[in-house]
């Protein structure tokens, strides 16, 4: 993630790279670009804080639902990291609202489309279980998106990027992130025993 103190918005701009998440109580803009990944923008309306996460569920989740799926577990942990940061700022998931973007696909690639549809299903299942209301859902489609999230007023600006060359460096980084996630799709974090 990089921070720019001055931006065209007249307030600090944080650019999130693939795999990044960030929560803040500051008046700022969070931005990113996504192709296949999911971008979630949380707003905690009681504390007026928010955050953004950029991640992917690395594979097709099974028919048993996300609570019984080790690949979905990776996506759940990605969201939990972001919510954990919001809780540290005094937030409470019962007062969260979310806007979700991304899961774009290459319509000529069946495997790519399967993953995108699985990610879309994951998002809807996860937030249904969590009882977190999705205020805006802009998922799928054969294109990339540039996202700016203004925390002050809980507004998201979404721009469709149809030119594949546009921001190709960002998309290269996203592909690297996706490749790493797929190589480590079934993982457990550090285990420490106090004995």
């Amino acid at each position: 993630m990089i921070k720019s103190e001055t931006s065209k918005f007249g307030k600090p701009l944080y650019i999130l790279y693939p795999g990044d998440y960030f929560a803040t109580d500051g008046d700022c803009i969070l931005g990113t670009i996504t192709g296949s990944c999911l971008v979630i923008c949380f707003y905690e309306f009681r504390k007026k804080i928010g955050g953004m996460g950029h991640f992917i569920v690395p594979g097709a989740i099974g028919t048993g639902g996300i609570v019984n799926d080790d690949i979905a577990g990776s996506g759940i942990a990605s969201i939990e990291h972001l919510i954990g940061e919001l809780v540290k700022l005094g937030g409470d998931r019962r007062f969260l609202r979310v806007k979700v973007f991304g899961a774009g696909y290459n319509s000529g690639n069946d495997s790519n489309m399967t993953i995108a549809h699985s990610n879309i299903r994951f998002i809807h299942e996860y937030f249904a279980i969590e009882k977190i209301r999705i205020d805006r859902s802009d998922l799928g489609g054969d294109f990339r998106r540039r996202i700016y999230f203004s925390l002050k007023d809980n507004t998201v600006y979404r721009q469709v990027l149809k030119n594949n060359e546009e921001n190709s460096e960002f998309i290269r980084l996203e592909q690297e992130y996706i490749d790493i996630q797929f190589r480590n799709k079934r993982k457990t974090g550090r285990i420490i025993l106090f004995e």
Binding site: G73, E130, L193
Partner: protein
């Protein structure tokens, strides 16, 4: 008398995932959505003379976090293992958890088989 595992997390998805992972161990699962809720449920179980075999506890939760829960729980029960299951990876918080009386610390994500292995180790 029933034997219980407490699963304390503000995420219903995590609580259900943990319950699903542990379903074959033969314990009843008691959910709690934060430290405060967990303490009330612990006290209710103790009053009913039920046996709490183990707690699995998140750290970053509203109302009462996991560290404070462990401290309060240790005033009631010095020996029952408490496994922390959390996204929190800060070394200072891990040390706080250990000093509060946690038995282990697992950083999410978790694979069910790894969780079961750790749980069984503490249930011996």
């Amino acid at each position: 008398m029933n034997k219980y595992i407490m699963v304390i997390d503000d995420s219903p998805t995590i609580r259900i995932s943990v319950e699903f992972a542990l379903k074959d161990l033969g314990y009843k699962i008691q959910h709690a959505e934060n430290g405060m809720d967990a303490l009330e449920k612990v006290k209710a179980l103790v009053n009913r003379k039920e046996d709490i075999a183990l707690c699995i506890c998140d750290i970053n939760m509203p109302e009462m976090d996991g560290i404070d829960f462990i401290k309060k729980f240790r005033e009631i029960d010095r020996f029952t293992p408490v496994i922390v299951l959390t996204t929190e990876s800060d070394d200072e918080r891990i040390l706080e958890g250990k000093e509060a009386g946690a038995s282990g610390w697992i950083i999410k994500p978790f694979q069910p088989a790894d969780l079961i292995k750790v749980v069984k180790r503490f249930l011996r």
